[in-house]
Symmetry: D3
Subunit: 318 residues, 6 copies
C-alpha cells in the first residue's frame, strides 16, 4: 500500500491510500441494476476517473469538491487510467494533509510575492494613492493572496490574482519609467494594484478556494463596477482630491480596454490606456505559458477558445 | 420699432428691439480692415445670422450664450436673413424677459408633469423603492425639472429629462401590467425614474441651462456608473435589502442595452431588459417627432446621424 | 392500472394506460441482437424516455409525432425516468382524448383572445385598413388561432401566434396614445395584426399543429416577403390608396428592425420603427417568462442561444 | 462664334453658342449688391462652372437639369475654367440638338445591345422562363433601354441598366456552361435578366433620364421586393409551376448576396449564389473602368467610397 | 469470397477480401477485458466501421491511413454496416491495387486537364509571364496534378488543385475578353495559375496524398506569402520588369479578397479584384456541387459551416 | 530685420529674413484680377499662412516642400498670423541652414539612440539572429536613422523609426526577462528590430525626408510582406536554420496583431504575440504624448481619428 501518490505519477497496478479531492460525484446504476459511485479524484498535479462498485451512499453529488481519504487500486480501462475505490471517507478534523498539494496553485513563493507587492506599493511617490492601496491590501489581504485571477482562461488557480497582479506591477513599474513623459507612476501603479480586486466578490469559491461559479453580483454588476465603487468610497473617507479619486475609478472601469471586452468606459488617459495593455499582455503571456506546457517543441495546440486561435511551441523555447 | 419679435417671425425690413441670446460671437476684420462683430441671435423659435459693423468690443467670444438687449434691422443676404445690430448690451438685473421664450423647452406643462411623476412614484407598492425614489427626487428636484435629456440627438432642450422620464414612466406603468407575470412593477418604475439621474453630473450647462459640453466625470466615468453609485449609497443609508439594492444598480448600469451602446453590463433580468427597450423606444419616438416636425408630408429627411438612416413623413400622419 | 397520468406526474412503479404522443421513434438492436423500440412519450406537461423490448415493428420513425394508446410501467434508469411500454397502438377514429392535453398550448383562453383581437380591429379609425385586416383575419382564421409564433425561441406552442399578436396589439393600442403626435393608430394596429401572418406558409406543421420545420418557400422567400405580398394583393383588390398600401407593406417588410435580424428594409417611419420595437419587446418578455418558469429565485439560467446571455430570476418576482 | 463646342474641349478665350444642360442653378447677390446667376453647364463630356452677371431671373433653381441655348465666353478663374454667360434661354420645341450628346450615356450601341439581349432570351431552353422574360422586356422596353443602373457608384449613366444586364447575361451564359453540373441555364439567365428591373420604380428621373433621387417606394420597399413581386404576378398570370415561380423570386430577392448589402434573403441555391457573384463582378469591373479612365498609368485614385479603398492603374493595362 | 467490393456497394452477409485504407485505428478493450481493434475501412466510394475481435496488435494508431489487405464479413449493427475483420496485413511491394480506387479523386481526366492548362498558359501574350508560369508548372508538376485544393471545405480530394485551377483559368480566359477594357489577360491568367501553388507547402499529406493537417509553415506564414515569395524569386532570376513582378505578387497576396478572409493586402487593381471573385465563385460552385450530390430534389441540406447557411436542391437541376 | 525667427515665436509686426520650407504653394488670382502666391511657411516648430502679393512666378505648386530664403512681415488676419512675403528664392548650394531646425524631428539624440540599438543587438545570445540584425542595420543604416515611423498617426517625424524601434527594444528587453519562461529573448529582439524595416520602401519621401505618400509597392504589397521577404532572403544567404528563419518571418508578418489591422497572419507564438502588443503599446503612448502636448491640464482633445476617441490631460501629469 503506497501513500499519497500524486495523480500524475499513478500507474496501473498500484495499491494506494491517500488524501485526494473527489469531483463530479454521481450515483449510478449498472446495466445489471447494482449501484455504483462514479467520480474523479484529483490533486494539484492532475485528475483521473474513479469508480466504487456496489456503492449506494451516503456520499453523493453534494460532496463534490471535498477532500477524502481514499484507498484503492489503479487500473486501466480503454487506454486510460481508472481508480477503483475500495474504501472512502471525508477528511476529518485532525487529518494531516497539505491543501497546496491538492489544489493547483500559482508557481510562485506566496510570501516573497506579497513582500514584493508591499515594496512596490511603498515606493509610490503620491502619498494619497499609496495610503489607499495599502489600506485596501490589508482589508483584502487573505483573498488577495489566495484567489484565482479568473474562473478559467488564465491564472485560474490558487494565488492566481497575486501572481497576475505582481507581474503587472513589475511591468507597470518599468513602463512608467520608459514612458515617464506621459505616465504618472503613482497613478499607474495604484490602478494596477486595484484593477482586479473586485473579483473577490465576483466569484463563488469552494471551501478549498477553487472557483465554482460567478456570483450573482458578479453577473449583474461586474467586478469593474464593484471595484471602482469600493475604491471611490475609501478615497472619499480618506479625503482624496476629487480628480485623483476620479482617475482611479476611471482606470478600474476601463481596464478591459473596449466595451466589447467588458470595459464600462474606454481608456481616455495615458495611464488607463497603458493599464489595459499591461493587463492584456500579462493574461496573453500566461495563456501561452499554460498552453505551451502541454505541447512538445514543433507542435501546435488545438484552437484555444479564449483567444480564438491555435498556438505553436517552437524549438528555440525549450 | 417692434418689440421682441420671435426669430421665426422676422422678415426683411423690420426694425426690432428685444431680448435675445447671442451665440457664436466672433470679432472679425473686414477686407478693408475695419472691425466688426459676427454672431447668431436666437430665441426658443430659432436662430439667424447677425452682424454689427464697426464694432471692436467689449463683447467677445466669452459672452456667447448670454442674454442681450438688441436693437437693429432685419435684412437679407444671399437668400438668408441677416440681422444688422445697431445697439447692444448684456441683460441686467431688473430687465424683464422670460427665459422660456429664449431657450428651447420641452412642449409640456412642467408643473403638471412633475405632479404626475410624483403620483406614479407614490403608487409604487414596494415601500423601500418608493422611499428611495422620493428622496432622490427631492435631492435633485431642480435639475430633474430643467436639464435636457441629452447634449444633442433627442430631448436636447430645457426640461427634456423630465419629459423623457415621464413618458417612460407612463409606458413602464402600462407594460408592468401587460407583462405582470414576469415584471416587478415597483422595480421597473424605480429603475425607470432613476436611470438617467446621473446625467446631471455628466453635462456642463450654461447659466441658461443649455448643455455646453460633457463634463470631465461624464467622459471618464459616465452617467451609468455615477447614477448607480449614488443610488447604491442612498440604498445603503436606508438599509435596503442587498438584493434589492443590487437590482436597482443593475437596471441603471444596463439601461443602454448592449456594451457597444454604452451598457456597463447587459440586461439579465426581465425588468432591466424591458427598461432598456422602453428607453430605446422613447428616444426613437422623440427623434421621429423632432425630424417629422421639419418635413412636409411625402418628404424624406436626410440621413440622421444618430440612427444611421433617413425618415419619412407620410400623409396619414398629418 | 392508472389512466392518462400526465408525464410531469409520473413516478417509478406506476402502471399506466393512456394517450400520449410518441416522438423520435427508432428501431434498434440490443447488444444481444434482439430488436427493440426506442422513443419518447410526451404530453403538454413534458416528455420522458420510453423503450419497448423485443419489438420489431410495425411502428417506426415515420410514426413519430402521432398520438398512441400506450400501456406500460414507469421505471428508473441512471437517475431518470424510463417508461417501459408493454402494449401500443396508434389512436383511432373514435378514441377519446383532448389534443390540448397532449400538445403544449399558449396559456390563454383562445376564444376570449380572438374576441379581443376582433374588438381592437373593429376600433380602427381608418376604414380601409380595418376592412383589409378583417378580411385577412377571416381568410386565415383557423391558422391564426392555432399556429405557433415560431419554430423555437419563443411562443413555440399551439396558439402562440394568437397570444403574441394580441399582446402586441394591446401594447400598440396604448403606445399609439402615448405617442399620438407621431403615430397613426390605424396604421400601427394594421401593421401589428398583419406582421406575422406570412408565418403560416413559412412553417411545416405536423397533423397536431406542431412545427416540424421551415417550409421551402419559408427558407427561399421568408415570411416578411410573403406576408407583404399577400397584403399588397388584397389592398389592390380593395382599391386602397397607393401610399397606404405601400406603408402597410413597409411595416411588414421592416418589422425585424435591422437587415442582420432579417428585415428586408429598415424601418423609416415612426409606425414601422415602433412596430419593430413592440415585436422585439414581446418576444423578449416571452423568452424571460419561459426561462424564469424553469428557475428558482436566486438562480441564473445557462446561456440562452437566442439572446446570447443568461437570465436571472430574482426574489422579488415570486 | 463657335457652335456646340463640347465641354471637354473648351479653352479660355472661345466665344461659344450651343445647347447645354444647366445644373445647380442658384440666384445670388454679389458683395456689391448686384444679382447674378451661378450654375454649371454640362454635356456628356463633362461640366464646368458658369456665371451670368447682373442677372435676376426668370431662370432659377427649379430650372436645374433643363437644356438651354447658351451664348458666352470661356474664361479662367483661379486655375479653373469659368463660362461667362451672355445670353440664355430654355430649349424650345423645334430646337435641334441630340440628347445623347448632352447626357452621359453607356459606351455601347443601344440597338445592337438590345438585339443581343433578345437573342440570349430567345435561347433559353425553358419555355416558361423564356415567355415570362420576353413579356417583361416588352412591358418595360423603353426604360430598360434608357435608365441608369444606379444613382451613382457604377453604370450611373443613360442605358446603364442595358449595358449592365447585357454584360451579366454574357457572363451568365458562359458560366452556366462551365458549371453545367449545378446550374440550370434557363433559371440563371431569367434571374439575371430580371434582377434589376425593379429599379425603374426605385428611382426618380429628370425629363432627360438622369436619376434625381430615390423614389418613395424605392426607399420604403426597395427594388428587390418590387421586382420579385411583379415577376411573381406575371408568373401567376402565365400559370407557371409554383416551384419555378418561387425560384425566380428567390433569385431576385437574394441578388445582393448578404443581408448587410441589402439582400432580403440569402442565396440558397447554386443559381442565386452565382447570380449574386456575377452582379458583384460586373459592378466591380465597371467601377474599376470608370476610375481607371481618370488615372494615368502608375497612379492611384483616392479612396473610393463605394468600395472603401483606392485603385491602381498599372502600365500593362494601357 | 468476393474480391475488392467497393465500400458503397457492401451489403450484410458478404464475405469479402480486398485492398482498403484503414483509418482511425484504435486498440481497445471490451467490457469483458479482451482486446480488439476498432477502425474504419475506406475506399474512394465511402467508409464504414470495422472491428477485429481478440486482436492485440501489432497494428495500431500509427498505421492509420495505410493500405491493407483485409478479409472479413459485412454485418449490421444498430442500423449501420459493420465490417468484421478476420485477417489483415499491410499492403506490400508487389501487391496490385489502384490508388485511385482507394482515395477520393477529382471527377476529371487528369491528363486532359493538364494539357488544357498547358494550352492556356501557352496562349498568354506576355512572354515573361508565360515563361514564369511554365517554369513554375514544371517545377511543381507532380504536386500540382495530385494535391487537393483544401484540407476540407471544397475540392478536398486528389487532384483538387488541378481541377480548381483549370476551372478558374477557363473562367479567367472568358472574363478577360468580356472585360477586355480593364483586364490585362496575361496578368490575370498568370495570377490565376499561380494563386494557390503555395498550398503545396501549406499542407502535410499522407503517403497516399490525402491532407493530414496544415504544416507548420502553412500555419505561421500561410500559402499566400509563400506563393508570392517564390514567384518573386523566380521573376527576379528571369529578370522580369519590377512592376510586372510586383503585380504578380499583389495578385497572389490579395486573392482571398478581404483581410478577414485571409488576404494579406486588399485587391487594388482590376486583375486582382477579378481573380479574388473568380476564386470565390469556383469554390462556391464546388461547395454547391458537393452538397447537392447528397440531396434529393426538394431537399435542404443542414447548415454548412464554411458558408454559414443551408443550400437547396430544386427540381429543375436534376 | 530679424533672422531665422522660429515659426512658433513669430508675432505680428516682426520683419523677418530666414530659411523656411514652403508648403502647399498655389498661384491664385485676386478678385481684382491680380496674381498672387498662396502658401504655408513651416519649420520644425510649426507652420503659418503666407501670401506674396502681385506674384506670378516662377515658383509654383511643384516647388512645394523645398527650402526657401524668405524675407517679409508678420501680420494678423481674422485672428490668425499671416506672413506677407516680400522677397523669396529657393535655397542654393552654399546657403547655411540646419535641416533639423526646419523639419520636425524625434526628440532624441540620434547618435546615442543608434549606439543603444547597437548595444542591444550585440547583446543577443543567438549568434544567427544577431548576425542577421547587424547586417540588416548596416544595409539600411541611413534610412533607419532618419525616416519617420509613419505617414501620420504617430512618430511621423524625422528619425521616428529610430525612436520607435529603440523604445520597443527597451521594452522587449525588459519583458523578455519578465516572461522568460515563454520568451526566447533573441527571437523577440530580432523581430522587434526588423518589424518595421519594410517601411523604407513603403513610403515616398521628399528630399528633406518627409513622407509625401505611400509608394506603389507600399500600397500593393505592404511593409510586412516586403520586410519579411528581405529578412528571409538574408537568412537564407547566411544559412540560418529553417525554423528560425520561419519564426523571424512570422514575427514580421504578424506584428499588426489582427487581420483587420493589417496582419498578414495572426500571432501564434509567444514572441509574435508579445511583439504585436509592444508595437501597439509604443504607438499608443506616442499618440498620447503628441496629443497631450497640445492640451492644458483638465482639457480633452477632440476625437482622434486613429484611435477613435478623445484623450484627457489630467493635472497629475504636469
Amino acid at each position: 500500500m503506497e501513500q499519497n501518490i500524486r495523480v500524475a505519477d499513478m500507474t496501473p497496478g498500484q495499491h494506494i491510500q491517500g488524501f485526494y479531492i473527489l469531483k463530479d460525484i454521481r450515483n449510478k446504476t449498472s446495466s445489471k441494476g447494482s449501484p455504483f459511485l462514479s467520480a474523479k479524484i484529483m490533486d494539484a498535479t492532475g485528475e483521473t476517473e474513479a469508480k466504487m462498485w456496489d456503492y449506494s451512499g451516503p456520499l453523493n453529488a453534494e460532496d463534490s469538491g471535498r477532500v477524502m481519504l481514499v484507498r484503492g487500486e489503479v487500473t486501466e480501462f480503454n487506454g486510460a487510467l481508472q481508480f477503483i475505490i475500495q474504501r472512502i471517507r471525508p477528511a476529518e478534523a485532525g487529518d494531516r494533509y497539505d491543501v497546496r498539494e491538492l489544489v493547483p496553485s500559482a508557481p510562485i513563493d506566496q510570501e516573497a510575492a506579497l513582500s514584493e507587492v508591499r515594496e512596490i506599493l511603498a515606493s509610490m511617490e503620491d502619498g494619497e494613492y499609496r495610503t489607499l492601496c495599502q489600506a485596501m491590501l490589508e482589508r483584502h489581504l487573505d483573498s488577495f493572496c489566495t484567489i484565482p485571477a479568473a474562473k478559467s482562461v488564465h491564472h485560474a488557480f490558487r494565488s492566481g490574482l497575486l501572481m497576475h497582479t505582481l507581474n503587472m506591477l513589475r511591468a507597470a513599474d518599468f513602463l512608467a519609467g520608459l514612458y515617464g513623459e506621459v505616465i504618472d507612476r503613482s497613478l499607474l501603479l495604484a490602478g494596477t494594484f486595484l484593477h482586479d480586486l473586485g473579483k473577490e466578490r465576483e466569484m463563488v469559491r469552494s471551501e478549498l478556494g477553487m472557483v465554482r461559479d460567478y456570483s450573482v453580483p458578479g453577473m449583474l454588476l461586474g467586478h469593474l463596477y464593484m471595484g471602482a465603487k469600493e475604491a471611490a468610497e475609501l478615497a472619499q473617507e480618506q479625503g482624496m482630491a476629487e480628480e485623483k479619486a476620479m482617475l482611479l475609478q476611471h482606470l478600474i472601469l476601463s481596464h478591459h480596454g473596449q466595451p466589447e471586452f467588458g470595459a464600462a468606459v474606454e481608456p481616455q488617459c495615458a495611464e488607463s490606456e497603458l493599464l489595459s495593455l499591461i493587463d492584456l499582455m500579462d493574461s496573453r503571456m500566461e495563456i501561452y505559458a499554460e498552453q505551451i506546457a502541454d505541447l512538445k517543441p514543433g507542435e501546435f495546440s488545438g484552437k484555444i477558445f479564449s483567444i480564438g486561435k491555435a498556438v505553436y511551441r517552437h524549438h528555440n523555447s525549450e
